[in-house]
Amino acid sequence: MSDPDSSLADLRVLDLSDGVAGAYCTKLFGDYGAEVLILEPPGGHPLRRHGPFPKDRPDPETGALWLYLGTNKRSVTLDIARPTGAALFRRLLAEAEVVVESFPPGRMDALGLGFEELRRIKRRIVLLSVTPYGQDGPWAGRPATNLTAFAAGGQMSLTGEPDREPLKNAGYQAEYQAGLQAFAAAALAAHYADAFDVPQHIGIAAMECMASVLELYLPWWAYLKRDISKRRGNVMSGMVGVFPTADGHIGLHVMPRNWPWFCRALGREDLIEDERFRTNYSRLQHNDELEAIVYAWAAEQKAKDVYRRAGEARAPIASVHTLQDHLDSPQLRAREYFHAAAGCGSGVTMVDQNRSLKAAASGREDAPAFRLG
């Protein structure tokens, strides 16, 4: 629900999408104060059928995924495939800035509601289509899920142990990546349409979103024709990786500049000027020795103690946080990340220059997901 003081209240988004990607895209709009209206098909939005449910009892109003993604939105039941629904949609469209959809490519056209028709009704409309493979190309119409999109985008091949099967990231990460990208693209296009009167049809393909963030692996292949994309499990080197502690796990991500602080956090200042480890190059040359030092040290530590000590010592080491750790986190509590309602913070604080950051962070309560219809 939009905050009456927010100057995003005049940004109105119609959500026809049926998956996590579209729902996350419009959730972000809603979290920032835009007016989001979900147009649910009769029978309810497909995400209402996703668990987990309290006490494992399926209920269209109580699924955790739906409560999370439905936050800060309104909902109306409307079947755009029927004449009455389509007519209502056209009326809503006249008052909207952005339409988000995730049908198989061509479906909106087949319904007589393609981009050309939408821009005829609303001159400055932004139509955002978010799908696994995009609006054209040989795979455009392929049946797909989060899992298959994650496999196609290259990230799965990089995840997991070298001698085992590749892994999917936890949750709906192909969809969340596409949804986040869709949100940013649509927000940018909405401003442009508003300021310069140019409508836009944006195609977001989850596969391309993922292929555009293959870290250094794709650039090295594209430019050097060197494939360094073999799965490497949890440990990239003695400087980057996830290591077991006595009670859990910690992760290191030590860049060249962090080396002295890292050594101090290990209680091994003697390593700072050790010839074997003096430069990044020499550390990689002696990586076996460095890894052995890190494994042996980590095995004697408690993960949360290391996190605190390393944090104070300005070394990039994090304990692997569980969901309970989030709820207990002094940092997240101090920043009031968790809100009273079902949702949680956006992670992005837009601070009016006349208000303090704290006031902006705490002065908002999320509206819970709307009930069906």
């Binding site: 100057s7 494992d56 955790a64 995924l65 993604l69 981009f115 054209d136 392929r142 049946p143 899992l147 999109a149 290259g154 799965m156 091949s157 990089l158 995840t159 590749p166 892994l167 990231n169 936890a170 949750g171 990460q173 986040l180 990208q181 940018l188 909405a190 401003h191 300021a195 049809h201 292929a211 555009s212 963030v213 293959l214 870290e215 692996y217 794709l218 650039p219 090295w220 594209a222 430019y223 494939d227 990239m236 796990h249 991500h253 190059y281 944090g311 300005r314 070394a315 990039p316 080491i317 692997v320 946080h321 997240l332 920043r335 913070g345 956006s346 992670g347 992005v348 604080t349 601070v351």
Partner: protein
Amino acid sequence: MERLPLHGVRVLDLTMAWAGPYATRLLADMGAEVIKIEAVNNWDLLRAFTGQPPNVERVWNKSPYFNHVNRNKYGCALDLSHPRGKELFLRLVAVSDAVIENFRSEVMENLGLTYEVLSQVKPQLIFISMPSHGKTGPEAHFIAYGTNVEQLSGLCHLTGYADGPPQKTGISYGDPMAGVAAAGALALARWQRRRRGRGQYVEVAQRENLINVIGEYKDERFADVVSRYRNQDALDAIIAAWTKERTKEQAADALAAAGVPASPVLSVPEVFQSEHLRSRRFFETVAHADAGTWEMEGPHWRFSETPGHVRLPAPCFGEHNDYVLRGLLGLSEEEVEALRTEGITGETPNWAVHE
């Protein structure tokens, strides 16, 4: 054809590594004039990921990782820790739309370049900070890079084999996710600025941004044990017996033809060669003065009216010093030379910084 959506929008880009530069790449792809500011003694460490011997000539301009993330941008070397560099930076702020940084949380304050200071110079300025933990709270001063962010978010805890430890994902996942969020926040700040006439300060806390995509708070590995379909293992064995007799492409094609969602697990070189992506012209050719010519992934936000493209190669270190210092700030050739002599600007980074 219409002009690009961010045509004429000048962004002063102080970001380095991946998260911030990915944000500004998205803006640059959409037409923003992104000016990447580095310094002789504080340059983007991605320039050091060269994959080539250090004695290669001007090797800092040949890092493929840097050159992919920083395409479509301009580059200027300016030492913000020097009073003269700071003064020139404030003059640039006066003629820019946005400033974006992803330093450690206290760096801008130490430089005396906070939002309060910059918005005095330009009230319409949008100022985006991307600290890992946020600028407030008891852990604000902790340092975290992309893989740390996923450890802090719960993603690492939840990812892994059923019988295994928490698993690092394949990329520094927190980085690009924060970058996209920052680009989106800039777009909304522009929407608001058009109505209020003034800019604002935006903070993207990378850790919180990533917790958001763990949103529904479900521990999959436990849920899996509780809700696992009966006979799942037997079913897996039957499917595996079928798939093992086929290549991954044959298996996926046969399943897709039967209406079953399926995809081969594509390796990075296979993504690069993908017939689907090629038919969508996803890869574009770039020509770079020092690094030569090759293909890189193009803008993946497919805009119907104003399609983005790779228009400019990533900047060589200090490549646009003259454009920025003389063109935008009106300094004379002698003044720029004096800056060069004092090391406030330059065309050669100090390699020892990231050794």
